[in-house]
């Protein structure tokens, strides 16, 4: 099957610590929604697809990327972000990801326009580039794409990963990506040719339930009960009770109410006596935490954002 007509599972990265190597390049890691863009400049057509292979074209009507490519057809890989003070802002992105109806999307796209931070090219004028070395793909990307108010090419540097990580962290970015220069594009694979080096510990967890709140929170919830997969089994990894504002809490609560269930989704669960409303384990959120205890529980977790682009099965304990 031709690449153009398919959905593409993006290549994924493994976790790593900062390092230096002249066989590698390093680029900023953008906090956004991964997106494969299928662009036909002649027909002025674009299709945007997220990592769950869902079509998200209608969600981002402002990303008319065919205006910024010098080619007939291209498939690009990148990250959709909404910027605030020049940095990706995931609260704003979340607002964009929640919108469902067209009227509202149009208005919000003007207030909080998205930008496509492009970093790879997989297809160019009928030619598949999956086996072309990364550094050559980067070179082609540079010639095909011009920066605009819709799309910005992600910069990269050579060799000095440690220094780059330090600077990126100081500038408030969540981390950097390391990519092996000679690597090909491995569709759908979590490869060791791409590495993510992050400034803080974060983990994607499945919301499995919530406890009732007190005081100001009594209308929503007190904390979220989190789970992750380990050896194919859903296990309780801790509860998170901080990190959201009232709007987010209200929104999450509304969503959770719709998926409430009587059944506890864990095979084993240590009952602490707290009353828990269980939900279908389908919503994914990212939490920041200090460390993972020896019992595989999150220490000092704080809610970061919902991950609409991830499914429960992707939440695997990586540590």
């Amino acid at each position: 099957m031709k690449l153009w007509d398919t959905c593409i599972r993006p290549m994924l990265a493994k976790k790593a610590k900062p390092f230096d190597s002249d066989a590698w390049i390093f680029e900023p890691k953008w906090d956004g929604t991964r997106c494969i863009a299928f662009i036909d400049c002649e027909k002025k057509y674009i299709r945007l697809q997220n990592r769950r292979l869902l079509d998200i074209t209608n969600r981002y009507p402002e990303l008319k990327l065919f205006e910024d490519c010098d080619c007939k057809k291209a498939i690009l890989d990148g990250e959709i972000v909404v910027l605030k003070h020049g940095r990706p802002d995931f609260y704003r992105l979340q607002e964009r990801e929640h919108q469902e109806d067209i009227g509202r999307i149009k208005l919000i796209s003007r207030v909080m326009p998205a930008v496509y931070m492009v970093f790879d090219i997989l297809f160019f004028n009928g030619k598949e580039l999956l086996h072309v070395p990364l550094i050559e793909r980067k070179d082609l990307l540079d010639r095909v794409v011009s920066d605009s108010k819709r799309m910005v090419k992600t910069m990269f540097i050579d060799t000095y990963g440690k220094r780059f990580f330090e600077s990126a962290r100081k500038k408030g970015l969540e981390g950097i990506m390391a990519k092996y220069k000679a690597s090909s594009y491995e569709i759908g694979k979590r490869s060791s040719n791409w590495l993510k080096i992050k400034a803080s510990n974060t983990m994607d967890c499945i919301i499995c339930g919530y406890t009732l709140g007190h005081g100001k929170r009594s209308r929503y919830f007190g904390s979220l009960v989190l789970g992750c997969y380990k050896d194919g089994k859903l296990v309780h990894i801790g509860d998170v009770g901080t990190g959201w504002d009232e709007d987010t809490m209200k929104y999450i609560h509304e969503r959770l109410k719709r998926i409430e269930t009587k059944q506890c989704p864990f095979k084993e669960f240590e009952d602490t006596g707290k009353r828990i409303c269980w939900v279908k384990p389908s919503m994914v959120c990212e939490v920041e935490f200090l460390e993972l205890t020896s019992q595989l529980k999150l220490r000092a977790p704080s809610f970061k954002r919902l991950r609409e682009d991830k499914i429960g099965r992707e939440c695997i304990i990586e540590y």
Binding site: L83, I102, M155, S167
Partner: protein
Amino acid sequence: MSHAIWEGYISIGLVNIPVKIYSAISSSALSFRLLCKKCHTPLKYERYCPKCKKHVRWDETVKGYELTKGEFVVLEDKDFEHVKLESKKKLEIEFFTHEYDIDPLYMNKSYYVLPERGGEKAYLLLKEILQITSKVAVGRVIIKNRERVAMLRPFKQGMLLTTLHYIEDILPIESFPGLNISERVSREELELAKELVRRYTKPFHLEKFRDRYKEALMEIIKKKARGEKIRPVELEIKETKDLMKALKASIQIKKK
């Protein structure tokens, strides 16, 4: 709950049922004040006579009916007094009919009708008999100085009064172009269309439809109210590029 807009009697034969009516609809449309662009002060509207070159007070105005362009028949308050209809608040039931004889197009505004003290039983009797016979009552009522045709029908535990347009206010569809269609539809097309309709038929729930425009606008209002300035995306991108430039530079300085 809003105020009653009308208080009076439903009069049916020799029976008078004391009732109050309330508007059944409250408009939820967003409304805006017009402000001065420069200082954001709400504008004040003044009536200005271009001939006398002065502002005119309300008591210095009369109403004019424009006969031909620029030529008016002037009416004063007492002229309106003469045509005032019997102002007794009474909804006189004239006859009963089938609701489906009244096209939805005719319907104007809807009001809830609720019984006043002493009228409860008669009210209930009227409601129930309308229900049992599947009929609506038709009568005339004066609301806000205009006489209206209205229909009264049972609604949930109470009754609903809907005023109707006058026939002269309804434009006939024949007065619009486009219906001289010479083609005919075939039996197959009809069958196909029928299948389509069958497949897409489902119960109607008004609560599933929302005013998207209003909600989106409200979103922006909320944002702006929180003091979040909307910055042009070009400016954001410039900062992102500056950030990337700075990152690149930080490596090069250290290399030396």
